[in-house]
Structures are given as structure tokens and as C-alpha cells.
Point group: C3
């Protein structure tokens, strides 16, 4: 670890059957040894609670801890997360072992943070969970089943419930397209998962009130059925596991946006506080269809990308490859050869070395004036929705495309949900804001009135928080802010397009023609002004892009699914109007992005080349190249997958 | 509704939980109000029985009403048709509520027809259904299990049953390829569904003997596992739900044939009596992969196509979009905006207006001299069959291709099954008549002997009604009529073709060469004469098309799966010989079809352009254009997706 | 049968419900009749035991005989192999009926061999099987659950078992990727299947000790989950069912290798003893996606290919097509027409006639100096492995590609597993030898030291017999023999390639450039010498092909997945060095292969043309053409799909 420059290790994940090999019989000796060794060598421990998987004896003695799936089949012992979050026994057992861990290591010098469980996910449909679901519903609907009937629109298909006992969780053997029910089930699963987490940390908080708590989230867009924005409120520090599938070719430049999106989202969850990169691989993973080792330079770039977007650490799964079972071919710092004479180990050393030069960056923040709404419940609702193009409702892709326009310019973005305070931004972007929860439209209106710029797209303002359509004309409560009425929406078949012709007076410096695909929203302007129109089909001449002036602000409405080019041109114009740009003030070649962290000591500009060819960036003035340890100025050259961190002392 | 020109509404579908919110507690007030309002405004009601979905309380109290699926899993409450048609409780409950409805509204001025349940479908594998299946088998096989063993060929794989109790319905956990069993199960499901329907209408018939009864069938080809020809015998009026996926481009011309096929099939089920278009959408549906709104003109054309082929009404699902649940984005006359100022509403008005000009058409018939056999049990058997090309056995597509040749010429066709009287036709077409039920071959022979023209294809006369192969040479009992022996059949791989060379003396004016694909039947002529031969492969020179003269008629045999071109040329020649053509006596440009309804007042020619470009049709004489309200003559122009209805007074 | 030249028939397969129509009530009369008729007409019987499918009454009375699937669902009565191999009742019942058959026909003149059951396959997860699995594990791991924990690496994911009762078979509802467990389960299934077979033959061996026993294996590569090499040890004669999907076009030449591989594998299982072709079709099968009848000549060629590779018989499924059930359209000698005047029947006659001219070939052997390791457990392990390219781990394809290079030259190969004696070969080829069972590496080392030539590829020497990785550097225990260390492995995306540049001193006469795809192993030579290097990417210049000299032998290591061209050139060079070639000593045109059987009377060269065009082979001397019945010399012409059998008298 010293060779590798590692000063922190997560330990104890999935260690339950080692710590407690039989019920109430414990063995902490091995863990003591590890903790002591870490401390002796100046390495901190992120100590895990072991609830991510249970020992065989526990499942054998208390079958209730295992899940029941949506087909109502009782699961067998096996896998990782396969335990019921409602189970009183499982809650009791996890609390008990967590308390023992906390008591034993509360004063241990190695202990720096708690890593609670591991990658929470999944759901259970057992009778306990059914009962909890019903209770959750009673509470939500004020114990009034008529309210539930109204919001779930159960009159349709004769589904009017007369007793709470009649309600069952969604199932392929029962209902799976009563949208209000499905949404509430997903909300319940989020609530129940968080509740289990809260139960886990009761002894942790009691015994070690000053040790921060985290749990590792997954994937650049999170997992669809568990609302991480809600979960983030309960942890002290957000951390996530990032396994980008870098290909080592020109496609990485586009792909890098997805990862940047993830970093920005996880940072935004705690209102911009630094987060942790909990897991990443030093070389390959073993679960993609094709698992390619990282090409040279890619590991350093990928690791520092996290720092650039607000992480304060880079961690690996795993330190050493296990000999057997399902992840034995997952990358590790140390392989089966046991040697440090490997390309992978040298890559890890390079990251350790770079991080040691970036100590000043720790704790610094990112100054973002752009908020992009990526709302979890909106996403769940869009996924379940039946209509338009059932085989294309990729909210995630559309949000990423909008985000990409900013990434290309190196403009900082916060990725937020509908519950955030919008007033801190100059520009608020909300693609496909299908679901508007109570008060959101009002808060957007106030944002615009107060001078903000708002951008919305087709298929916004359609349903309330329970997936009930707004009456009286779409975009529902956003109609005034956007100044339009959407009458219907055309779904184009694959490979069909329409042409969008901009008005010469569009005022945004847009080109004359752009391509629309997939969706064309057929709207009527009310108070808005058209900036572009469709150029063919029966709606030729109808608006394709509008702007509405409201109070001191503006609200744009994009009626079509566009190619990246339009979004790039559009947001370039908008950000120019708002005076937003990258903090280095330079032009960025394709595939190069900038992220700037700011602290008391100055700005730290991370200039990253995600292409496999050399790129040149011309600086306006001199900066200190922190990795090189020297001042640079003029035009600098970034090698393929190269990165430079430029320090700019302020004042 | 008045604005929209609607004078009839289907109501009460899925209303059970509203009518009977708790067991034996009823609320008819809301329904009274609607019925009265309709009557007051001159709108008729097609009143539905509510058995299409049950209230939660019913499933909770009587779990037996829910289905058991083929894996023997008990379904949970949910969805629509998810009730056991065998359940005594469910039968009792549906009878009871139907009786109450009938008693309450028997003299109501709005009541014009009964809409029984909704889109019957599916099957149940519970122990009650198993027992009913066994009883059905006992009856079919004269209580002699040896007969069943013979017909199911159970000696194969050691399946000889010795007791009826050993028999279970087909299942992925048991048998699924004992073809006799699978066929009998599907027949049983049809019988059981109809039996449930008959049970439902007992009180209806008693209380309102003069009100006609219908139930809505689905899809242009029906649903494969429920024999609609059998079901049609039990209703007073056939009605169906048609949701064509018009694309608004040049592919619609080809696709329109499928819908025309459906209309002709449903009309033929009641021997040509007018049917009803029970459901159609005024704009989009919400369950295709891509749901495109109807382009301008398409709604009127699509609606009047039904009338053209024999419907006496056009109805919509749904009047108004619901706010929630799974069909909230399905098209409706009135959208979430609640406005009549929409393109969709105006389209509905245009249909109402057109229909008001076509009153004379009501009750008229279609004079068809061509019968096309599309036999439901043959289709079920072909689907289950293992052999030839398991991934291509599309009986439906082949029947449609044959049908298309007539549609292109505007020649009326009846789509019938094997049980119909063939003697009323001049031409009988039976593609892939794999299964010959008892007496059918004899009746075909008599048809030909009496002067009829019969057309058969490869893979005909293979099995009896229980899927047992005929011995002694294919096409089995049709061998004499067709005058050939089919020795084996070649299956071509995709993209492979053979060439078919016609004899110069073919007498049909066919071209020299056509393309064969997918199947080439290797036959020997006996009494038949070859009209064309295969031109390559080891069967070069063997017959590809034959004709057999028998009595006063002719029987053609097509040995290959052909492209549309061959069928068009072949049927053009055949119909010419028989003096059949469209009733307008005109040449039809591509994509334009004609359907003619005939009554005492004359002929009503519906000339329909299913392309998106203008088409010209040159008339032989003057006609009255009913939509225009003026006389027309000479060459008339149909705009893209345009339709003209020409009245021709007879005598 | 006489017309067809058939002198042997398999009978009684699936006859249980006919022999024992009710429990303990037997009817052998029909079987007596058949046996007697066969004997009277000089036809031998291969008499089957009926355990391949059970009568309905047996499953009804003893439900335990039916299987439980991996989801723990109890199967229903149906299908063929759907019985639990652990069931005491089923074992008792099969023994009992087998004893009756043996007693009745032990002295029958027709009886020539026992055909035990039919195509054994599948597994059962009932509680009896769970208990047997646990007992099997206890025995394997010396009743020490700690050993099991170590080998299964259960510490990962907290899976440490403390009691055997906690262990359950793999399931989608439980564990499916604990690789040691999955492998052991598959081994257990093999053991249990063989144990069932052994139980079946107890009475057979007792009553008819001199009648040989076989059971029919399936497919050219066997079925993945049942280790046929292990099973083959228990039968007297190996037999298999071969249903090649000949297409009748140029692709057959490549495809023929797969079938040849199968013949060679089944022959090798009993160390080169002649095997039987138990089932083949005279025309079509009915279960491929597209079932094409055999083109002219193909049936004779396909049948004699089996003889060429060591079979001593050719048999058909089925004699006559059944009228019903799932295989009624499977090819047969006699079709539904019942006639002998068919192309198919004439094809069968041609095979009977050819075989009658090849009596001398019976009992002769094939002299092979090349051993190719195709290890069943290695294959199971590679399939389950998670890593590299999860969507491409086709061990079978890679082994076939290596095999094809020898087939093209007409060089005899034995296809063996890791347990065989390697010392009898000059050349040992072991593609992707991922798993090395105990002692195998040592035996390979000895083979090389003693002068053998060994060829290995990337991804060899990775795990032990329980899928635990070797530590200290790959290829683990083969590192010394191969003289290299494999540090990591690059997985190329589809359509990506690298170029391999050979050293001018490669000594194999290889071309300058070859293409690498899919995998590139990044190795370091230790004692080996590079013969070629990669030409691009970050590992440009690293070895792509190496040779290591050890003792009197050589060991080659191929670092990349190659196209056929490289393998052909490489093995041509290697076999040339070793003096190996086809026994006819001729150059073979593309698509033509030779297999030579050798006996006391001389060599029998089967020269086979698997293309649809004529091929010319020029002989070095005169031979006796056994099918023609005449001497031939000089250049002979093989018609499309033609075959010649040349006898060469030795000495």
C-alpha cells in the first residue's frame, strides 16, 4: 500500500460470516490485526457494516430474512442483497453486530469513516413488506382509501378498493400498470431502504457520534428504482462506485460526459460538498460483455476526473484479486501473480503520486450557475408511462445530451431534482419535465419572474406527483411561464426527421436549419414568441422553438428531440447572453473539458483530454501546473488521454 | 357529442366496482343519470355488462374467481380478464348483476343493444378448469380413452393414458407439444369462453328478448387462441375493435389490405350481415412501440373503410381521456385539455358529417363471388406444428397475400372457415389448407365438380382434425380433386429463391418467369396438367403450378410461396375467366381500392386512396358523389388518403 | 427393410406404456412378434430399455418420479426425460422392467445389443437430489466443510457454510455464480446420471452378461452439462445421434469439420474402438428453424463420413413416420405415403448398397498421432466464468478451428480430455486450457521433455479443478513448460484487430503478417523465444507467438485468437516438421478431406468432397475403388458431395 500511495482502505464489507461464524459467537481477532496494521502504517480504515450479505446460518435459522420476489416466490439463500428490509430479525441482528463493531473500534486510531452496508438495492414482496406498504399508503392518503382511489384512478378497470387489505404490491401475476400504484411502490421501496439504513446506524450514531457515515451509491445515473436524492439526505458524505467502460478510442470523448454527469450529480446531492469515489477499478471489471483493460494514461485521467468534479478521494475495488467465486477476474491493485511489477500497479502508483501533489484541492468547491433537473420520480414515472414511443423514453439520454453542451464548454453544472432551491442559478434546464410535483411550477415561475432563464422541452407539465394528467391543456401549471399550449405530439418513426427552420430574428445566432427527430410537439403560442418553426408535414409553420418573457426572465421551450448540434448552438448562445463560460476563459477543442474547483487559495483548473490524440489549449496567462510542478503559459499540449491541473492564485 | 355528430355511446364497461361497491350493495344513480341524459339528447346507449373486470372485494372474498396460469401459479388480483370462466361463483355473480341491469333498463328509451363483457380472452388452468377439460374430452371421445390415445398418438413417448384423471392441460412444466392435446385444449378454451358468455346472457335474453346482443372481438385477424367463427354464431351482431397502425406514408397502401381483410372476415362471420366497428381511435393509441397521431384525412378514410366493407357504424374508444392509469394517453374524442378546438375533434366531426350523408347505405350488403378459407383451427394447428420452417409458418400472411390480389382489383371477397357452404361462390381460395376436417375435402370436390374454381397451395391436405397425418400420399383427401401427389417439400433458406418457368400454353397469360421462395413443393402430377415448372435445383422441370379438370370445374395447385406479383397475375387471369371484377368497372391505380355495397336503392361504391399522393380514377359514366352532394363523371381525382362514395341508381 | 438393405433395428424405445399398460400388468406379445419377425428375416435387434419416458399411471401413482426444476417448481407429467435420477421408486421400477426384458429375450436370436434408455439428460433439484448432492460433497471434501469453504471461496459475499444442510443446488432464486458450487453440481449431475444408468443395467449384466451395452449420446459436441468422457467409461460401445444441418451449398465444407470432430471425439472416448452412428435422418429433421431435405448425394456422403471416422454402422431415426405428436414430420425411411417409390427411400438403398461393399472395413482402426484436448469440465468452467468477454467464450469454436487445420490436410486426430495418456501422440494441442486438474501440467511437461510437441494458447493455466486461480503468475503450473508469464489479457471489441508480425527467423515458413482478434495475451518470455510480435497498440513489440525448448520437445504458445489462415499455416509447418500427413500422401483441394481406416487387410482411404462442385484428386499410385468395384489411378474426379473409398493393400 505504501508503494501504491494508498492511505485509506475500506474493510469488512461482507465479513459477517467471518466476524460471527455462528450465532452470537464472534471472532474479531483477524479484524483487530488488520485495523492495527493499518494504523501502524498510517493508513485509515473506512469500516463497513456487514449487512450487505448474510451468513448461511442466519438464513437457515431465520428464513424470514430472505426476500420474496414479485412473483411471490421465496428466494433461496444466496447472492448479496437478498434480505427483506422489513424483517424484524434482520434489523435486530444488523443493529447488534453494528453495535459490537462500533464499541470495539470507537477509539481505534485507524477508524475514519463508516461504510454502511454495500450498494443497497432491490425490493421484497413478503407479507411483512405488503403490510408495511399498506401502512405507508394509509399514512400518505390520510387513512382515506377514497383518496387513494382518486389518485390511482382505480375506477378504470373496476379497481376501486374498499379495504386496505385488498392492496398488493405490483406483480407480473397481478397489476403492473396501475401507474399510481407502481410509483407509490417505488417510493415505498426507497423509504423502506432508507429506514433500514437508519435502523443500521442507530448504534453507530450513539457510540461514535463524531465519525461520519456514508454508503456507496452505484452507477453514473444511480439505480432507477431507488431515489438517491432522498437517500443522500441521510448520509454525512456521498460516495459512489464508478466503473466507466472506457474503450480507449475516439468514442471515449462522448462517453466521458456520462461520467462527468454522475460526478456532478453526486456532488450536487449534498449541495456541492465534496464526495468520495468509493469504488473504481485500476484495470478491468469482469461483468461487462467485453472487459477491456484501461489503456495507458486512462486510469490517471479517469481518477482525476472524479477529483476535478468534486471528489476528495479515489478508491479501488479491489486491493487484491480473490482466488475464487464470481469476482476473481475483476481488476485489483494486486493480481493473482502477487507482484508489483505490473502495468496496473504502476498505474495505481501514478495516481497516488498525482494525488499527493493535489493536497490543496481537498475541500474546495465548484461554483455552478447552471442547474439541470434530473428528477428521480419523474424518471420512474416516464419509464412506466404507456404512450408516445414506448420503446424510446430515454429521459437519461436526453438529460445527458443537454448536459453535454455545458461539458463541452467547461461550464459547471449542478444536477438536481425538483426539490432543490432554484434561486441560486442563473440558468435552469429541465428536459422532459413530465411530472410536476406540488409547488414546482410555482417555484419555476418565481425563478423566471426574478430574472432567471428557464429551458423546457416537449412532454413537460403533463402529470402531477401521482401520475394524474393535468386538465385544461399542457404543459399544465407551466403554461403561463412558457406561454404556450401543447395540443398534441407527433412521434416520428426511426430514421424519419423533420426540418426546423429558425426565424432570422431568433436573436441567438442560430443556423438556418436543424434536424428534429423522434418527437415533434405541436404547440400554439400564447404569450410566447416563436424562434423557429417546423418545415414540413402537416404542421409546417408551427412553432418548434419559443421564448416567453415573464417578469425579468425568459422561458424557452424546445418542441423537438434534437441532435447534439442544436443543443450546442442553443446553449452556447444562452450562456453567452448570461455571461457564463469556463473559468479558464479559453476555447476548448473537441473532446477536451475543463472543471474548476475553487477555494481560498485559488482556482484549480482540471484540463482533461478524453481523446486518444494530442490536443492544444492556448492559455490567456500563466498558471502553475501542479502535476508538472512548474509554471506554464501560452499554448499547452495535452497528450492522448492527458490531463493538466492548473493552479490560479486569486487576488 | 352533438358537436361531434355522435348518436350512440357504449357505457358501463368495467363499471362493476362502481355499480356494486360492496357485495350486494348497489349504486345505479350515476348510471341512471347518464342513461337519462343520453335519451334526452337523442343518443342511444350500448349498455355493457361489467364482467370484463371484477372489483377488488370480489377477488378478496372469493379467490377462486382469479385465474391459475399455465405454470399453475395462482394469479393475484389485477388487470382485466383475469377470472376463471369455470368458476361457479363468478358465473353466479355475473348473472346476478346482469339481471339487475336488464331489469332496471329494459324499458329505457336509450337502450339499443347489449355489449356483453369486453374483449373476452385468455385461459385458466385451475382444478375446476382441469376437470371441465377432462369432461369435455370424455364427451368428444365418447368416454373411450383409447380413442383419445389414438387421436393424440400418445404411444409416442410412452404417453398412453389409462385414466382421464391423468390428463392435464398443456404447460411449460408438462406437455406442450402433444399436438392433439394442445389443439383440444384450445378448442376447449373456445367452448368454455362461449359457455361463460352464454351464461352471462341468460338473464339478458329473458328480460330483454328484443334487444340485440354483441360482444367486441379484437384485431383484424382476431386472437389466435379463441375461434371467433364459432363465437360469432352466438351473437346477434358481430362487432370488433380495430386499431390500425397507419403510418401516414406509402406503406399504408399495403397495410390497408390487412384491415380490409378484417372487415371482410367479421362481415362474413354472420354470412354478410352488417357488422359494427365497436372501437377505433380518433387519433393515437398508447400501446404500439411508436404511437403516431393519424395524419390529416386518415381518420375519415379509416372510418369509412369500415363502412365500405359492411359496417353500419363507427365508434370510438374513448370519448374522453381519463386522468390516470394505463390508458390515459390513448386517443379520445376529448383530450385532457377538455376542448373541442383540436384537430382530433375536428376529425371526429368530419366523420359524423360524412356518416350523416350515408344513411342510405345502412343495411345494404356486399355481393361476393369469391370465398377465401381462413380456418381458425387450421391456423392453431399450423402454429403448433413442428417441422418445415419452424420460424416461418405465417398462415395469416399467406392468406392476406392471396386476399390482396382481389383487393387491388376491388373484387369482393368473403373470408370464411371450413364449415361454410362453398356452393355460393364461383371461386374458392384455400391457401395452406393443412388441416382438413371431416367432409371438407368431399365438399370441395363437389364444389369443383359442379363447376367451381378451386385454388390450393403447397402444404395442404396433410392432417385430419386432430392433427393426425393422412396416410397414402399428400394432399390426402384432396388428391383426387387436385390430381397430384406431393412427395416432399423443400424449405429454402432466407434469401434463396428458385425460378418458376411457365409453360407457353399456360392459358392464363402469365409471364415467363416468377420467383419462388421459402417453400417448393415437389409433386407429381396424376390427372393434373402442369402450367409451370421449377427451373433449377435437383427438381428442375418438376411442376410448380398445375390445373386439374374435374367435372365442370377446375382445381389449381400452387407449389411455391410466391411474391405478390405472381398472385396478382394469376388471380387477374382467373377472375377474368370467371367474369369477376370491381362493380365500378374501372381500372384501379396502385393503392386505390373499391368496395361496393348494394341495396334496393342501388350500388354504393366506396373508392379509397390509401396512398399519400393524388390518384386519378376514370369513370365510365356519371355517378352521384354522396360526400360532395353532386354528380360527377369522367376522371376524378382522389387526394392523398382521399375517399369518394359514388351512388349508382339501379334500373 | 430388405429392399432398403437394413439388417438391424433399434426397438422398444419409449415402449413402457405399451409393455406395462398398468402397474405390474405386462403385454409382451407385440414385442415378441416384432422380435420374431426380425429374426426370421435376418435382422438384428438393438433392444431398448424403456426408461426414457414413463407411463402416465406411474407418475400419477408415484409423483416423486417427476423432476423438480431449478426454480424448485415440481414438474407435471409430460415430455421425455422428466424423471428424478435419485428416486428410489423410479430406480426400482426401471430395474424391474429391465429384468423382465432381459429374462424374456436373453436367448432370442435377434438380440444383438442393449440400447439403454435414450439420450440421458437434464437434472432434478428435489429434496432427494439435494440430499444426494450434499452426500456427494461430503465425500469429495472428506466430510470437512472447511475444505469446501476454501475451494468454493465462500468467504466472498459472506457465504461461509457451517453445516452441510445449508447447501442447496444452484438456482435462479439462490446462488448461480459461486463457480465451485456450479461446477460441483454439474459433476454431481454427471455422477448421478451415470449412477442411474448403472442401476438400470444391473439386471442386464446379470442375465445377459455377453450382450454389449450402449446408450446413445447426442450432438457433435455432446451436451455441455453431462460429461460424456466420464459416461463413455461405463458403456461397452459408444454410440451417438448425429443430425447435421447440411445446407447443400458451399458452406457445408466448413460445417463438415464439426461433424468430423464429433465422430473423432466419440471414437476417441473408447481409445479408438469403433463406435456406432445410432441415429441419423434419411432426409429432414423437424426441429431446426429451417428443415431442408438432404440434396442428392448428401445422404450417402454424410453416412459414409461416419464410417470414415471409425463408425461400424449407420442407423436411422425413424423407420416410419408416426401419424401424430411432435415428431411426425421428422424424416423417416418410410413416409406417410407408405411407399418405397420416393427419393428418400432410394437414398437409403444407396447407403445399404455401399455398406455391403465395405464389409472389410468393419473393426478396423484409425492411426492418430495428434491429440487435441477438449476437456468437458474445462468447458463447463469456461462457460460459467465471469470475465474477459462474457459474450464470447466459445471454447467449442476455438477447438474446432484448431481441429479444422488437421481435417483440411486429412491428418487423423484424437479428441481427448485431460485424463488421457498423452505419451502416445507426437503432437498435443490444447486450446484455452483454462482449468488444469491435478497432475495434468506435470504430465504435459513430461510429454514435452520426452520429445513431444505441445501447443497452447492464451487463457491457459488459470484455475485448478475447483476454479480457484493459480497464484504466482499465469499460466500457473504450465509456466515452466511454456517459458512465459502472462501479465494481462486485452479483449478487443468486435471488428477490432491487431496485426501480428512474424520474426523472419520464425523457422515455420509463416507469412509476414496475420490478424489477431478478440483476445491478445500480453506476455513476457522467460525461457521461451518469440516467433512473432504484436504490431500496434500499447503492446506493440510484445510477443504474439513463442516457442520453448524443454528436454527433447517443444512447447508453442499462441497469444491471440486467430483467423483460420494462421492456424492452417502454423499446423502445416508443425506437422511437416513431425512428418505427419494424410495417409494417401496427396494434396487436397479445398473442401475435400480424407480419413483412413487401417486393418490387417490394408488401408481404407475415404476421400470425401463436401462441396457442391467437382473436385480432382491426383493419386500417387493405383488403388481399388471399393464402391466402383474397380481399380483406379491417376487423377480421379469427385462429383459434388461425392465420395470414393480406396483400398490399399499393405505389404
Amino acid at each position: 500500500m505504501k508503494l501504491a500511495g494508498c492511505n485509506e482502505a475500506s474493510i469488512g464489507i461482507f465479513a459477517w460470516s467471518t466476524i460471527e461464524p455462528a450465532e452470537d459467537a464472534y471472532d474479531f481477532d483477524w479484524l483487530d490485526t488488520i485495523m492495527n496494521k493499518l494504523a501502524e502504517n498510517g493508513v485509515y480504515a473506512m469500516l463497513a457494516t456487514p449487512s450487505g450479505a448474510r451468513p448461511p446460518w442466519l438464513a437457515e435459522k431465520y428464513p424470514e430474512v430472505l426476500r420474496t420476489n414479485s412473483r411471490r416466490e421465496k428466494e433461496l439463500y444466496g447472492n448479496r442483497h437478498n434480505h427483506c428490509f422489513s424483517s424484524p430479525i434482520y434489523r435486530e441482528k444488523t443493529q447488534k453486530i453494528n453495535r459490537l463493531l462500533a464499541e470495539r473500534y470507537k477509539n481505534h486510531p485507524a477508524l475514519i469513516m463508516w461504510h454502511i452496508s454495500n450498494e443497497y438495492s432491490g425490493d421484497c414482496h413478503c407479507s411483512l413488506c405488503q403490510e408495511n406498504f399498506r401502512n405507508w399508503l394509509r399514512k400518505k392518503y390520510d387513512n382515506d382509501i377514497k383518496k387513494l382511489n382518486t389518485e390511482w384512478w382505480t375506477g378504470f378497470w373496476s379497481h376501486i378498493y374498499t379495504d386496505w387489505s385488498q392492496i398488493q404490491s405490483p406483480s407480473p401475476l397481478g397489476d403492473s400498470c396501475v401507474h399510481g400504484m407502481v410509483l407509490d411502490w417505488k417510493r415505498f421501496v426507497t423509504t423502506q431502504t432508507i429506514d433500514f439504513f437508519k435502523n443500521e446506524i442507530v448504534p453507530i450514531r450513539e457510540v461514535t457520534p463524531n465519525i461520519p457515515v456514508t454508503t456507496n451509491f452505484m452507477c453514473e445515473y444511480g439505480i432507477e428504482d431507488l431515489d438517491y436524492f432522498a437517500f443522500a439526505k441521510e448520509v454525512d458524505v456521498v460516495s459512489w462506485d464508478s466503473y466507466p467502460q472506457w474503450k480507449g478510442d475516439s468514442s471515449d470523448a462522448n462517453f466521458a460526459t456520462n461520467i462527468a454527469f454522475g460526478h456532478d450529480m453526486y456532488r450536487s446531492m449534498k449541495h456541492g460538498k465534496p464526495f468520495l469515489l468509493m469504488e473504481s477499478t485500476p484495470s478491468v471489471v469482469n461483468w461487462y460483455g467485453i472487459n477491456r483493460p484501461k489503456r495507458p494514461s486512462v486510469h490517471l485521467l479517469s481518477s482525476l476526473q472524479a477529483i476535478a468534479h468534486g471528489a476528495d478521494s479515489v478508491q479501488y475495488f479491489q486491493w487484491r484479486k480473490g482466488r475464487g467465486a464470481s469476482e476473481k477476474f475483476h481488476g485489483a491493485v494486486v493480481g493473482h501473480d502477487g507482484s508489483e511489477n505490473t502495468r496496473t500497479f504502476r498505474d495505481v502508483v501514478s495516481v497516488g503520486s498525482a494525488l499527493s501533489k493535489l493536497d490543496e484541492v481537498v475541500g474546495t468547491a465548484i461554483d455552478a450557475k447552471v442547474g439541470l433537473i434530473f428528477d428521480w420520480e419523474n424518471r420512474m414515472a416516464l419509464k412506466e408511462m404507456q404512450g408516445l414511443r414506448n420503446n424510446y423514453k430515454d429521459y437519461v439520454e436526453v438529460c445527458t445530451n443537454h448536459y453535454r453542451s455545458f461539458w463541452k464548454c467547461g461550464i459547471a453544472v449542478e444536477v438536481i431534482d425538483e426539490t432543490f432551491d432554484f434561486s441560486i442559478y442563473n440558468l435552469l434546464v429541465a428536459p422532459m419535465l413530465y411530472m410536476l410535483k406540488p409547488g414546482v411550477a410555482q417555484r419555476i415561475e418565481e425563478f423566471v419572474e426574478a430574472g432567471g432563464t428557464f429551458v423546457a422541452t416537449y412532454w413537460s407539465g403533463i402529470v402531477n406527483e401521482n401520475d394524474l394528467c393535468f386538465l385544461g391543456g399542457f404543459p399544465g401549471p407551466l403554461r403561463k411561464t412558457l406561454g404556450i399550449w401543447s395540443e398534441e405530439i407527433d412521434c416520428l418513426y426511426d430514421n424519419m426527421t423533420n426540418n426546423v427552420k429558425t426565424e432570422s430574428t431568433n436573436g441567438l445566432g442560430l443556423k438556418t436549419d436543424y434536424t428534429a427527430k423522434i418527437f415533434c410537439d405541436l404547440i400554439h403560442t400564447e404569450t410566447a414568441k416563436p424562434l423557429a418553426t417546423f418545415d414540413s408535414d402537416f404542421y409546417k409553420g408551427q412553432p418548434a422553438l419559443t421564448v416567453n418573457h415573464l417578469g425579468k426572465g425568459k422561458a424557452y421551450y424546445i418542441c423537438f428531440n434534437s441532435e447534439q448540434e442544436f443543443l450546442d448552438d442553443f446553449y452556447t448562445a444562452i450562456t453567452k447572453k448570461l455571461g457564463l463560460g469556463n473559468k479558464l476563459g479559453v476555447h476548448l477543442p473537441d473532446g477536451v473539458s475543463i472543471s474548476t474547483r475553487t477555494g481560498e487559495q485559488g482556482n484549480f483548473h482540471f484540463v482533461m483530454n478524453f481523446t486518444d490524440v494530442e490536443k492544444i489549449v492556448c492559455l490567456e496567462k500563466a498558471y502553475f501546473d501542479m502535476l508538472l510542478g512548474a509554471e506554464v503559459e501560452g499554448c499547452i499540449t495535452l497528450s492522448g488521454f492527458g490531463i493538466t491541473v492548473l493552479k490560479e492564485t486569486i487576488g
